[in-house]
Amino acid sequence: MAQTTVTSDALAARAGGGRMKFLVGGLLIIAAIVYLVATSLQSTAQYFFTVQEVQSKGASVVGKNLRVSGAVLGDTIAFDPGTLTVSFTMADVSNDTKAIEAAGGLAEALHQAAADPNAARVKVVYVGPKPDLLKNEAQAIVTGKLGQDGVFYADELLLKCPTRYEESVPAQSTGN
């Protein structure tokens, strides 16, 4: 009788030890995955900012992945077909849907921003073909990085002409 108890205890202990191995192994793998997710998130996260926010944060956001939207100033658009370099300056537009609607719609908000000499501004440089929609008071959504020189180097350039989308505020303007 005593013998049996000992054996089953030993069996239970062995099974427990086996469980432990699996538990430790599983936790190690889970920890590795969590670590992978956390570090990747840090290095690849993309922050949505307005031009105003980019200006006020300045050096602290240099080198981070940013997504910024603003109103294109027509006079500043330049294109070099040889190097396929597009550059322009854009002015601050609110990223708050309600504020845009209060201003009388996106077209009006863009118009006001472009006309306001006190609005925050940033110069954008993009290498690629010049998009058809790049014109005065268009909404530009750029993703890329802010350089040390205060110029925004865009990897991606999206444009919206609000007159075509009168019905609603384009999703991008709210940073979706």
Binding site: A15, G18, R19, K21, F22, G25, G26, I29, I30, I33, L36, V37, S40, L41, S43, T44, A45, Q46, Y47, F48, R67, P81, L84, G128, P129, K130, P131, D132, R164, A171, Q172, G175, N176
Partner: protein, 681 residues
């Protein structure tokens, strides 16, 4: 008239679903089999009703009834007939109706199966499927009615309503807006139905799982039914994902096939959990282990299916796929929350009954390989889920919107997928319970040496990306171990039966469809991995503005710009089509016609690449911009996508393997039949 009939059918279907649910659940405590029979009939009736509603909608779509809001929204006179039919699922309201119809089709198919042995599960299978059907039909009836008419008050904007509002006059649009041009592609016509089929077929296994939990019949009977249905759903979902990738490659014009877009992720997530389930269910069948875990996977898959539909339909995340913002978001959220709470409560109630029949014996065993496989699939699912919902969470928590793009997913999922492919090579060699390290080492010897040789050869060829080297090494190992498995089985058969190699091989696969179908899927995964490694690590791109006769070089290819035509088509497109000649190593290999279609009425451009496709690589040219006078020049963007065709070919093999694995086993059914009869007698 037809619109009213369609709407009436919808309301009746909703009533039937509600009635079936109530009667099915009540029939058990009331002990009234007649009530259950009535519930059964009502559940079956939802299908003809929803079919009628769908036919009404299709009739309205193809006969240009532009007084109907949905019709004028998604079709136009210029659209060909087949596109008008596919407009059934081209917009929000119609696609929800389509979803409901498919769901009731699958529910009906499940109802009509032979119930003899698991009759007690039926009330709850009816309840779960009918609640799901009812939820979707309810959304259509209450929020997204495709049969709503257009009305106008004074000279105001037309709006949609079912009944005539006070002071409103009927409004008939002269022509419709037309289907979103991006959806006018063969891949797009098949891709959504496939995804929806995959989604709805996952509801059936969930219904059986819930029924098993409620009736406390969590023996192995339900798991067989569940596995079969999961495999069906998995087949369609895989097909949908592959077709979606092909569509993106052909139409979206960015040189890729998978962008980790929230909606792509939404379809990918249930696929991941279902794949985990299809693997871990084998442990339950063989060893009676992981019963709780399998139920968790089924519940998760169902929740992710509804979550996926929610992501696409609610506009909570904007993406190429998302329909406009709508009121159905909160309804979805409540539904997901409720089903999750109820399912988990049922699961915890049964927790003690779902004990494992065995313990894990050894770290080096088939069981632990499956366990690791599940851990990795869940790891990928959790990472992808986190990335998908992160923008919402960050905005809620900090007010700062932060999103993650493809680089995040590639970094997170890449290593986990690599580990999975490696495991795919080693796992099938491991014995159940306890594998001997010595024997395992012997079986892995040749594949490992070959993998090292391949990596060495690639190093000599000048490939320095360690990710690609590791990837190709793992792929070599997994391919060889799988092929050796086929070889071993075939040789054993040849020895024992004296058949020739081909006969031995085919009977081997035919007799063990599940196992060898699975291995064929593994080989397909290897092929697809090769395509993914090639196109991810070695993609090259360039762009340039060319005048007539000028050339652009990329890798071993040179292209020259020969000309440009602009013309109108009779289906409302303004087409700009460039002609370019492609030279490889200085030899002319063909002409391509990248083009830009501009859909005049919807003001939407669509860029269609010109592609020269070979086993080795795809030369993929996009027409980005052009001058009105062709001689002044046009801008092209060019991608070189190495090995990308392996992905598509692997996709075909994948589907073939799944069909083999899922094909009903005629012989076994015949053997089982007399037993079933015996039981009934």
């Amino acid at each position: 008239m037809i619109a009213n009939l369609g709407f009436f059918a919808l309301v009746l279907a909703l009533a039937c679903a509600a009635y079936a649910t109530g009667m099915a659940v009540l029939s058990v405590p009331q002990r009234k089999p007649a009530w259950l029979a009535s519930a059964h009939r009502a559940a079956l009736l939802t299908w003809p009703l929803l079919t009628l509603a769908s036919l009404c909608l299709i009739f309205l779509l193809v006969t240009d009834h532009y007084e109907i809001g949905y019709v004028s929204h998604v079709t136009s006179r210029a659209m060909p007939m087949y596109l008008k039919i596919t407009a059934w699922w081209g917009g929000q309201a119609g696609s929800l109706l389509f979803w409901s119809w498919l769901m009731s089709t699958f529910a009906g198919a499940a109802m009509l199966r032979k119930w003899d042995r698991d009759y007690s599960l039926m009330p709850y299978v009816i309840a779960v499927t009918m609640i799901t059907v009812g939820f979707f039909v309810g959304l259509v009836v209450l929020f997204e009615n495709p049969f709503g008419r257009l009305w106008q008050i004074g000279g105001g904007e037309p709006f949609t309503a079912m009944l005539q509002p006070a002071g409103a006059a009927p409004f008939v649009a002269a022509d419709g807006n037309g289907l979103n041009p991006l959806l006018r592609h063969p891949g797009m016509i098949i891709h959504p139905p496939m995804l929806y089929l995959g989604f709805v077929s996952f509801v059936i296994p969930y219904a059986f799982a819930m029924a098993a939990l409620i009736t406390r019949r969590t023996d192995d009977e339900w798991i067989r039914t569940t596995r079969r249905w999961t495999l069906v759903g998995w087949l369609f979902l895989s097909l949908g994902l592959i077709l979606g990738g092909r569509w993106a490659y052909d139409v979206l014009g960015w040189g890729g096939y998978w962008g980790w877009d929230p909606v792509e992720n939404a379809a990918f997530l249930p696929w991941l959990t279902a794949t985990a389930f299809l693997h871990s269910v084998m442990i339950q069948e063989k060893r009676g282990m992981l019963k709780k875990w399998n139920l968790v996977l089924i519940i998760l898959t169902y929740a992710l299916v509804i979550f996926g539909t929610f992501l696409t339909r609610s506009g909570v995340l904007s993406s190429v796929h998302a329909f406009a913002q709508s009121a159905i978001g909160p309804a979805f959220f409540t539904f997901i929350g409720l089903t999750f709470i109820v399912s988990l409560t049922l699961l915890f109630r049964e927790w003690d009954h779902l004990k494992s029949e065995h313990q894990m014996d050894s770290l080096l065993s088939r069981e632990s390989a499956f366990l690791l496989n599940n851990l990795l699939f869940m790891g990928i699912a959790a990472s992808v889920f986190w990335g998908t919902v992160f923008p919402m969470i960050s905005e809620l928590a900090t007010g700062q919107k932060i999103s993650v793009g493809p680089p995040f997913y590639n970094r997170v999922a890449g290593p986990q997928f690599a580990a999975l492919v490696l495991l795919m090579g080693i796992g099938p060699l491991m014995a159940w319970r306890k594998a001997s390290p010595k024997q395992l080492g012997r079986m892995l010897l040749i594949p490992s040496v070959a993998a090292i040789l391949v990596v060495g050869a690639l190093l000599i060829l000048g490939i320095r990306s360690w990710g690609a080297l590791l990837g190709f090494g793992i792929v070599t190992l997994a391919t060889l171990t799988t092929l050796i498995e086929f070889g071993r089985g075939t040789r054993a058969r040849m020895r024992s039966t004296g058949e020739n190699a081909w006969a031995a091989f085919t009977t081997l696969v035919a007799r063990n469809r599940r196992r060898y179908g699975g291995y064929i899927i593994h080989l397909a995964v290897v092929l697809m991995t090769i395509g993914i490694i090639g196109s991810n690590f070695f993609q090259k791109e360039t762009q340039g503005r060319l005048k007539l006769g000028e050339q652009l070089t990329l890798g071993r290819y040179v292209m020259t710009y020969d000309g440009l035509d602009e013309f109108n088509t009779n289906d409302d497109r303004l087409v700009a089509r460039a002609t370019i000649s492609v030279y490889r190593d200085g030899r002319l290999v063909g002409q391509l016609h990248p083009r830009r279609d501009y859909f005049v009425s919807s003001q939407q451009p669509m860029t269609i690449p010109g592609v020269r496709s070979t086993v080795e690589d795809d030369f993929y040219v996009l027409l980005v911009d052009w001058e009105p006078i062709a001689a002044n020049g046009a801008t092209f963007k060019v991608y070189l996508n190495p090995l990308v065709n392996w992905l598509w070919f692997g996709g075909l093999v994948f589907i073939l393997g799944t069909l083999i694995a899922a094909w009903p086993d005629a012989e076994r059914e015949r053997r089982r039949a007399p037993i079933a009869v015996g039981v009934r007698v």
